[in-house]
């Protein structure tokens, strides 16, 4: 956990604050934030990110396009990605799975679920 740098991508400043606070409580201290996919890609050029938590509905570049963009780049083929979104329709979840997310949480989430999914993904 000490070396893990997490990128939290969400267009809602409220959600970013809640996610970052929850991550810090769970022991993940090193967190970078971005407001959409485009901003996230820019941040990833600067910081070495080991884990991505992303929303779906965002301006400029949505979460699904962001995930597809990452997966089309060899460098990010195996980067762990967790999607945290309000979209709970099964077809959407399947679409996110196909795009390459490692796991999926529907908002509102509980801190336990967030921690559990991160740990599951890291455990492989």
């Amino acid at each position: 956990m000490a070396n893990l740098k997490i990128l939290a991508v969400d267009d809602s400043p409220t959600m970013r604050r809640i996610i970052i606070n929850t991550l810090k409580r769970a022991g993940f201290e090193d967190v970078v934030e971005a407001c959409d996919g485009k901003d996230a890609l820019a941040k990833m050029k600067v910081d070495k990110i080991n884990f991505v938590i992303t929303d779906w509905n965002m301006p400029e570049m949505d979460g699904l396009t962001f995930v597809s963009t990452l997966r089309s780049n060899a460098e990010y083929k195996s980067l762990p990605i967790l999607m945290v979104t309000t979209r709970s329709v099964k077809d959407d979840i399947v679409e996110a799975l196909k795009a390459g997310v490692n796991n999926y949480i529907v908002k509102p989430f509980t801190p336990d679920t967030l921690k559990e999914k991160i740990e599951q993904i890291l455990a492989g």
Binding site: D10, D11, S12, P13, T14, M15, R17, I18, N21, T22, R25, W56, N57, M58, P59, D62, T85, T86, R87, S88, V89, K90, I93, V94, L97, N102, N103, Y104, I105, V106, K107, P108, F109, T110, P111, T113
Partner: protein, 195 residues
């Protein structure tokens, strides 16, 4: 109209009737213009009000987040302090104050847990903001339709009306605080099948 009427007279009568009908329709359209214009004025006000609710709820949520984060920091310090006091008390006067210290620590921990619960509950703001964006988007659709009807009535271009509405609203139309279409267990099962 009489069958013996000359053709030209029949045509003239038909044209006169048609002209009267057209004049009636024009009058009806003119009558429609006022309520349409009134609706066109009211719809954007409703949209603006929804945007204002979103903005002000977000500002209030951030104030609450500020307070909750400050409570967290203070309660963590209280728990740390009480833990140290407990250690000192054990060394100097075993059991004298340990009961009280344990009780205070428990209360501080309860406050901290409540602060976490408040913070988690503030996720409502993101979800209601999406619901309001959805409602605002529906109102904007109605506004565009009203503007288009009025543009047609005034002989203007509808495309110009549509082009002037370019606010990009991002929302999930199904965002809901309580009703999740797919529960976490089903999501987990979907992901474990596709590993």
């Amino acid at each position: 109209m009489s069958e013996n009427m000359p053709l030209q007279a029949k045509i003239q009568a038909e044209v006169a009737a048609l002209a009267t009908s057209i004049a009636d329709i024009v009058q009806k359209f003119k009558g429609l213009h006022h309520p349409l214009a009134e609706s066109k004025e009211k719809v954007p006000v409703a949209t603006q009000q929804l945007d204002k609710i979103s903005e002000q709820t977000e500002a209030a949520t951030h104030q609450m987040l500020d307070m909750v984060e400050q409570i967290q920091v203070r309660e963590e310090k209280v728990i740390d302090g009480l833990t140290k006091m407990s250690e000192i008390s054990e060394l100097t006067e075993p059991n004298a104050a340990s009961g009280l210290i344990s009780e205070l620590k428990e209360l501080a921990q309860t406050n901290l847990n409540d602060a976490y619960t408040i913070m988690d509950a503030l996720q409502f703001q993101d979800i209601t903001a999406q619901q309001m964006n959805h409602a605002a988007s529906l109102l904007e659709d109605i506004e565009v339709k009203l503007q288009s009807i009025m543009a047609i009535m005034a002989g203007k271009s509808v495309e110009e009306v549509k082009a002037s509405y370019s606010k990009d609203r991002v929302f999930d139309p199904n965002a809901d605080l309580f009703d999740k279409r797919t529960d976490q267990e089903a999501i987990d099962s979907l992901f474990s099948k596709n590993k």
